[in-house]
Symmetry: C3
C-alpha cells in the first residue's frame, strides 16, 4: 500500500521538488501527516500549518512553493485541491480491489431491465422492468431502481437509495385522498453520484430529471417532476418538493428545503437549513436560519419576535412624535 513520489508525479503531473524515490504510505491532513505521508494545502489561510507539518511531501500552489521548500519536499500544482482529489483516485485505483462489472447473484433484476455489461449491480439491489443502467455505473448494495427509470454512465449510487418510488400526489375529495398514479419515471444523466438512503421520486406525468454531473449527499429527498441542472451539488438531508426546477452549478446546504413549483437560477447557493419559499432568479448566496444562542437568550428574543410587527408600529409612533397623537 505505497507509492513513490516519482510514481505519483508520473501519473498525475505537477512539478516535484524533492527526491522521487521517497515512499508514501498514506495521504493525511496537514496537521497530522507524518514522515511517510503526503498532504496538501489548498487554502492559503492555513500556510502556518505548512511550516509545522511533518509530512513527507505537501501539494502546494505555485505561490507557496518557496514557503514549502523551506520545510521539505513539495509537489507544485496550479490547483492543489484538485491534484489532491486525483491523488485519492490514484491511491484507490492502485490499492483497492476493483469493483467487478456484472450483477451480484443476490440482486433481483428483472429480465426486461437493460444493464450495460460494464455496470455493476451490487448485493441485494432491485432493478425493475424497463430500467436502464448505463456503462460503468455502480449500484452499491441494497439500491432500488424502479420500473422504467434510467441511469446514465459512470454514476455511483450508494446503499439504500430508492429511485423511482411514487411521487406524493393525491387529490382531496370528501376529506379523503385519491391517489394520483405516478405515470412518469426518473431519468438520471452521466457522472451523477447519489448518497446513501437518498430518494428520487418518479414523475406524475412526465419524468423527474437529474442532469449530468449532479452530486447528491445522503438522505436527500427529490420530489416528483423535479429537474436538477448539471453539476449542482446538494448536501445531506436536503428536501426538494415536487415540480421544483433547480439550475446548473447550484449548491444547496445540508438540511435546506426547496418548496414546490419554484425555480432556482443557475449558480444559486443556498445555505444549510434554509427554506426556499420563492423562486430565486439570480445567482447569489441566500440564507434564512434562526441564529443559535444560549437557550435563555433565545427564549427572550423568540418571545419578542412574536411581537415584532407591533414593535415596528411603536417605532413608527415614536417617529411621528407626540404632536402626531
Amino acid at each position: 500500500m505505497s507509492l513513490s513520489l516519482g510514481e505519483i508525479v508520473a501519473a498525475l503531473g505537477g512539478s516535484l521538488e524533492g527526491n522521487p524515490q521517497v515512499t508514501i504510505e498514506r495521504l493525511a491532513p496537514l496537521e497530522v501527516a507524518g514522515p511517510q505521508e503526503l498532504s496538501f494545502l489548498s487554502n492559503p489561510r492555513y500556510r502556518q500549518q505548512l511550516a509545522a507539518s511533518r509530512a513527507a511531501c505537501v501539494i502546494v500552489a505555485p505561490a507557496l512553493r518557496e514557503v514549502a521548500l523551506v520545510r521539505g519536499a513539495c509537489i507544485v500544482s496550479d490547483d492543489p485541491y484538485a491534484y489532491f482529489a486525483r491523488t485519492t483516485q490514484l491511491w484507490k485505483q492502485r490499492h483497492a480491489v476493483p469493483v467487478l462489472a456484472g450483477i451480484h447473484p443476490s440482486a433481483v433484476v428483472d429480465p426486461a431491465a437493460v444493464i450495460d455489461p460494464t455496470a455493476s449491480i451490487g448485493p441485494l439491489c432491485v432493478v425493475e422492468r424497463g430500467a436502464v443502467i448505463g456503462a460503468g455505473t455502480v449500484l452499491k448494495s441494497r439500491v432500488t431502481v424502479s420500473e422504467g427509470c434510467q441511469i446514465g454512465a459512470r454514476c455511483i449510487v450508494h446503499p439504500g437509495v430508492v429511485i423511482g418510488a411514487d411521487g406524493f400526489g393525491f387529490a382531496p375529495q370528501q376529506k379523503q385522498w385519491i391517489k394520483i398514479e405516478q405515470l412518469g419515471a426518473v431519468r438520471i444523466g452521466d457522472d451523477v453520484e447519489i448518497g446513501a438512503n437518498t430518494c428520487i421520486d418518479r414523475g406524475a406525468l412526465q419524468d423527474t430529471v437529474i442532469e449530468d454531473g449532479v452530486k447528491l449527499d445522503n438522505l436527500v429527498q427529490i420530489g416528483h417532476n423535479v429537474r436538477v441542472g448539471q453539476h449542482t451539488a446538494m448536501a445531506g438531508c436536503v428536501g426538494v418538493a415536487g415540480s421544483a426546477t433547480i439550475g446548473s452549478h447550484c449548491t444547496i446546504g445540508g438540511g435546506a428545503v426547496v418548496l414546490g413549483h419554484l425555480t432556482l437560477a443557475d449558480g444559486v447557493n443556498v445555505s444549510a437549513a434554509t427554506v426556499v419559499t420563492h423562486s430565486l432568479n439570480r445567482p447569489g448566496h441566500y440564507t434564512g436560519m434562526f441564529p443559535i444562542d444560549d437557550n435563555a437568550q433565545w427564549e427572550k428574543n423568540a418571545a419578542t419576535l412574536k411581537q415584532l410587527h407591533r414593535l415596528r408600529e411603536r417605532i413608527k409612533a415614536l417617529e411621528r412624535g407626540p404632536d402626531a397623537a
Copy 2:
C-alpha cells in the same frame, strides 16, 4: 397504450363535449399537452393556459365549460382534479403490468407472520414473526415489517420503509444510557401509503398507531407511541417525536418537526420546515420559519435578532420619554 375519450367517460363518468372516438395516448400538463394528450384544469387561475393549450381534450369544471369549448373538446366534471386522479388510476390499470399477489421468493417472511393471500410482498422484504399484512396491501421492495406489527388493507409501502424498529428510549444513569426495551408494536390502518425510506418506530409500552387513510411521504420519521389520525398527510422529511398525538385531516409540510408529547387538533395545517413546540388545540394554519434573504442581508438581520430583546427595552425607554429617566 391508448384510450379513447369514449372509453374514459364510460369508465369514469363526467360529460364529454367532443368526439368519443378521439384517441388519447398520454396524460400531460396543460402547458405541454399535445393533440394526442388529455389534460386538466383544476385551478381557475390558470384559465389563460386553457385557451392556449394544444391538448386533445381538457377536464374542466362546469364554470369553465364555455371557455373550454371555444378551444376544443372537454370533459366536464364537478371536481376536475379528482377526475384527473381517477384518470391516472384508469391509465395505470389498463396499461401497467398488475402487481402480483404473493410473496417474492427473495423476501424473508417468518412462518409466524400472517400475510393475506391477496397481499404482495416484494423482493428482499423482511416480515418478522407475528406481523400481519392485510388484504390487497403491497410492500414494494426492501421493506422491513418488524415483529408483531400490523398493516391493514390496501396499503402501499414503498421501498426501504422500516416499520417497527425500536423507539428511541433510554434512561440516564451515572452518565450512561440504559436501554428501555420497546415492548409495543406498530398498528397501521387501511388505505395508508408510506413513502420510501420512511421509519415508524414501535411503541415503548403501547402501540404506535397510524389510522386509516394516512399518507406519509419519503424519509419521514414517526417516533414511538405516536398516533396519527385519519387522512392526515405529511410531506417528505417530517419528523414526529415520541408520544405526539396528531389529529385527523391534518397536513404537515416538508421538513417540519413536531416535538414529543404534544397534541395537534384535527384539521391543523403546519407549514414546511416549521417546528411545533407546543400543542395546537384549534384547527388552523401555523408557521414558523426564518425568511430567506440575500446572505448579506440575512447576516445583518440575524445579528440584530440576537439583540431583539434589548431593542424592545430601548423602545420602551423611548416611549417613557426623557422625563422618566
Copy 3:
C-alpha cells in the same frame, strides 16, 4: 407472559411494599395502567396521577413512598426511571424469543469480514470485506457495513442503516466536481445503538469515529471524519456535516444540524431543529428556531424581520433625538 412482583424484585432489587405473589401481565403508563399492570412515576410533577392510577403496583422514589402506599403496592427505588428501564429489559428477556447468534442465510457477508461468533447478522444484511463486527452486536435486517468498517461489542444496528458509504467529498475544477476517494473507514465503539435508515459515512483520509455508548435515532446523517464522543445521544433526523467533533455526554435534538469542521464541548445540549453554525466551547443548552405562530401573524413578523437591521437604525436615530439631526 407474566411475572410476579416477587420475581421482579428478586431480579432487579428495590424494596417491594405489597404482596410478592401479585401477578403482573404488562408494563403500562401510569394513566392507563390497570390492576394487572406495573407502572412507574419518575417525574414528581405527575404525583397527582399516582393517586388516581389503577395500576397493580407503581415504581416510585423514596420521597413518594407514603403517597404511593395510600393507593396500593409500590416498589421503592432510588431511580424509578432506570428501574423501569431495567424492568423492560427483564420483560423482554423473559418473554421475547432470543436473538440468535450467527449469520442469516440471506445475508451477504464477505469471507474476509470478521464476525464475532456471538454477533447476529440479520436477514438481507451486507457486510463487506475487512469489516469487523464485535461480540454480542446485532445487525437487524437490511444493514450495510462497508469495507473495512468496525463495530464494537453489544451494539444494536436497526434496519436500513448504512455504515461506511463514501463521504461527500469533491474538488471543484472547471465548473465540474472531481471525486475525492474516501480512503478512511468508520470505527464504532461498544454499546452503540443506531436507528433505522441512519447513515454514517466513511472518512476521507482518516476514520469517522463513534465512541462507546453513543445512541443515534433514526434517519440521522453523520458526515465523513466526524467524531462523536462517548454517551452522546442524537434524536431523529439530525445532520452532522463533515469533520465536526462532538463531545461526550451531549444531546442533540431532532432535526438539528451541526455544520462542518465545528467543535462541540462535552455536555452541550442542542435543542431540536437548531442549526449549530459556530463551535460551542462550553457545556450548556443552545437553541435557535423560529417560534411557531398563526400563519397570518408569522407573515407579518417575518416581513418585519427582513427590515430588522433598519429598524435598529431607526431606534438609534430616535435615541439620538431631534437635536442630533
